[in-house]
């Protein structure tokens, strides 16, 4: 990992932060790339589990279902640092999954973030599917559609709302610092992401750099939200 330029020659004015971004400082880019890698992977993993789980929860009826729905809605508000602590204790060498040697690696960060956002994806998916299923199920069965096909139809018609749910999960994961700093260790060049860098540089008094990273992070979050908005608009115009 090349010694980062910004550590030795810090910018002396706020404009310096923007200069780093515009110049495409390689260390800055590496941090941004790792952040995206971790959060995209975490979102993919959480979706793999969360979308089917949310669909199942929306459509199946079993004793204790209501309690489960309430519990998952509550888990949406899991504090990231608590998730970080839980995963840390699991992955520590002294913990149950210690033999995997995953602590202080990007994989641990992916796992922690995935754990954090899965409840969000499950809860929002359930809500979205349940609402439309109430409308669709009778109409589709009158059309002679099998239950399985009806579910597939529902999911296809919900493809845009489901994408915005994934974007919501992504946004939440990208913005958190508590989980990744605990399980990643904020190791220079290895597990340091935008949020943990901001925390570190602020604590070192490198506020200009911290602000620079903050601008990139805000830009990312805004872009994701704009994308979600765009998807909703397009879906509204084309599918109603």
């Amino acid at each position: 990992m090349p010694h980062p330029v910004f550590r030795k020659d810090p910018p002396v004015s706020g404009a310096g932060a923007l200069e780093l971004i515009v110049r495409g400082d390689p260390a800055l880019l590496a941090i941004v790339r790792l952040s995206l890698l971790v959060t995209v992977s975490a979102t993919a993993l959480a979706s793999l589990i969360g979308l089917p789980a949310g669909a199942l929860l929306a459509l199946a009826r079993f004793p204790g279902r209501t309690a489960l729905v309430v519990a998952i809605n509550g888990l949406m508000g899991l504090p990231p640092v608590v998730v970080g602590l839980a995963v840390f204790l699991l992955l520590s060498r002294s913990g149950p999954l210690g033999s995997l040697g995953l602590l202080f690696t990007p994989t641990a960060m992916v796992l922690a973030q995935a754990l954090l956002i899965t409840p969000i994806i499950v809860a929002l998916t359930r809500q979205t599917i349940e609402a439309l299923w109430e409308e669709y199920s009778e109409e589709l069965s009158a059309m002679g559609v099998s239950r399985g096909s009806a579910v597939a139809t529902l999911l296809w018609d919900l493809r845009f709302p489901l994408v915005t749910i994934l974007l919501a999960g992504f946004g939440r994961a990208a913005a958190e610092v508590g989980a990744v700093i605990m399980v990643g260790g904020n190791i220079d060049g290895f597990t340091r992401v935008m949020t943990t860098s901001i925390a570190l540089e602020t604590s070192k008094g490198n506020l200009d750099l911290a602000i620079g990273l903050g601008l990139v992070l805000i830009g990312l979050v805004l872009a994701v939200n704009a994308l979600a908005w765009g998807v909703r608009q397009w879906a509204g115009a084309h599918a109603g």
Partner: protein, 282 residues
């Protein structure tokens, strides 16, 4: 339905797999040797590692991953076996670590010193002195604001010991001018700058700290402000997975001529921060 859901799941799995694969591209680097060193935030913030670790890597090809935490947490990381080597500056705690069977041996590596930082207004009239104990007494008497790290770190232990020598225990009495923040050195300096308070800092973090504002060194040079660093290999008998060969290689380099020279050569603004003092017998 099954086929549609299955294909959606497959698509997501492919995305996840792709992401994992690109992150796995980092693995070949890590498959080359690497060790995890648990050290302190003040050491990390001083920039020392950024200077010496590339030299070590160039020599041995071993990647050193530093997890920077408070001293208490760094030792705990070693206890849990989540690090291969521990490098902190709290001799008593380090010796206990070894005595309790978590570490193989403790060796001196280097020292830096603490300085008492104070606000420009200098309400305790401590500036320019070289007696830390007298300065602390003055801070207490004048009830000047004082920021403590309060995080079981090496700096925190040193601070408490100095108060004890001064015959005071503000961490127990908790008077209003004594502010424990439970965070690292950078945060403590930020807080002190914002509050116009005194704070005990290691010189390394102080020199490279960017937000000095109107803070300045009040007291320095007192022998009691010495800050000794020790390095310990986490005991492989306790944690068999510890990479003891690479870890020992790091320790040997650190206390050997090359590592000591590397430490000596690290300067900020022309000032040397750390003074190597490993004993030749190792």
């Amino acid at each position: 339905m099954r086929s549609t859901i299955a294909s959606a799941v497959l698509a997501l799995a492919l995305i996840a797999g792709g992401a994992a694969a690109t992150s796995a591209q980092k693995k070949p680097e890590a498959a080359a040797q690497s060790i995890v060193v648990a050290s302190t935030t003040s050491t990390q913030d001083s920039g020392l590692f950024g200077h010496i670790l590339p030299l070590f890597k160039a020599k041995t090809g071993i990647d050193v991953k530093v997890v920077a935490q408070g001293t208490g947490q760094a030792l705990d990381t070693g206890r849990r076996g989540d690090a291969d080597v521990v490098l902190v500056h709290a001799k008593a705690q380090e010796e206990a670590f070894v005595a309790n069977g978590f570490g193989v041996k403790r060796q001196d590596v280097m020292y830096n010193d603490f300085v008492l930082i104070g606000p420009a207004a200098d309400p305790a009239k401590a500036k320019g002195g070289n007696d830390i104990v007298a300065a602390l007494k003055a801070v207490a008497t004048t009830k000047s604001p004082f920021v403590s790290r309060g995080d079981k770190s090496g700096t925190h232990s040193a601070e408490l010991q100095l108060w004890q020598v001064a015959g005071l225990e503000p961490q127990k009495a908790k008077p209003i001018w004594y502010r424990e923040i439970g965070q690292g050195m950078g945060a403590a300096l930020n807080t002190a700058a914002a509050m116009g308070a005194y704070v005990l800092a290691d010189r390394g973090t102080w020199i490279s700290f960017k937000g000095k504002d109107s803070l300045a060194i009040a007291v320095e040079g007192d022998k009691r402000l010495f800050n000794q660093y020790g390095v310990i290999l986490v005991d492989p008998a306790k944690h068999p997975h510890v990479r003891k060969d690479a870890g020992q290689a790091f320790i040997d380099w650190l206390v050997g001529a090359e590592g000591q020279a590397a430490i000596r050569s690290y300067k900020i603004n022309g000032q040397q921060l750390f003074f190597p003092n490993a004993s030749p017998s190792g």
